[in-house]
Amino acid sequence: MPVLPMEQGLLLAALLFALGLVGVLVRRNVIFILMSIEIMLNAAGLAFVVAGSRWAQEDGQVMFVFILAVAAAEVSVGLALLLQLYRRLQTLDVDAASKMRG
């Protein structure tokens, strides 16, 4: 297999991260915001694996496992919060949560 330059992988990670950031900034639906956060975490993991592949070390892959654990914990709590938001306010609009009291 031909040798890839490291910038190509980092460029892809940057591109995916920017797309996820746009999703978080633009969408108002909580489901889409959670999906965009998943995209950003995945892009960060890709950058770690690319860096691990550059120096042929396994540390980057270990970091990806940690990112996976963080993503799983984050999405479970986030989706539970989403369910509570929908139960209380009957909408998925994040702006509606600004009126929530205690």
Partner: protein, 167 residues
């Protein structure tokens, strides 16, 4: 040209762009699965087969199934597409996109300046990753297990229907 890297890279970028522009949440979720599978393909190419398998099993499998379950519980009807359309006027998405593109261009410019660093072609097996995970990174693995326990407890506590308790 290394097609095993560039084809999945293009597929991942296009699928991710489709995720953030779809109005129907289920369509966006299916595109997100495509994006995650193509990133798993890239991990195979980069010599990380263990991580590629984890990406398919945990990201594209478990986490996406969680999203599907929540969408089933919400029972969203066809009116949500019109609602999404109303939530996305042009003036709302233009500003963030322009600012993000500026930051992305700056990042690409900085990455291009670093010169060509060749990546390795050798494969890192799951055994090496496991030895590192439970050797020098043992504390991190323990902390991750505690974080997951906290996630389970938090999801149970928040996901409970509080109206049932009052009755």
């Amino acid at each position: 040209m290394d097609w095993f890297f560039y084809i999945p890279a293009v597929v991942a970028t296009v699928a991710t762009a489709m995720v953030i522009t779809r109005l129907n949440a289920v369509h966006a979720l299916l595109y997100l699965i495509v994006s995650l599978l193509s990133v798993a393909m890239i991990f195979f190419r980069l010599g990380a087969p263990f991580i590629a398998a984890l990406e398919v099993i945990i990201y594209a499998g478990a986490i996406m199934v969680l999203f599907v379950f929540v969408m089933m519980m919400l029972n969203l009807g066809p009116r949500t597409v019109e609602q999404e359309n109303a939530w996305l006027p042009t003036r709302m998405w233009l500003g963030p996109i322009i600012l993000t593109i500026i930051l992305l261009i700056e990042l690409i410019f900085m990455l291009r300046q670093s010169g060509h660093q060749p990546m390795t072609t050798e494969t890192i097996q799951a055994k090496q990753v496991g030895i590192a995970l439970f050797g020098p990174y043992l504390l991190g693995a323990e902390l991750a297990s505690m974080l997951l326990l906290g996630g389970v407890v938090g999801a149970y506590h928040l996901g409970r229907d509080s109206r049932e308790e009052r009755n």
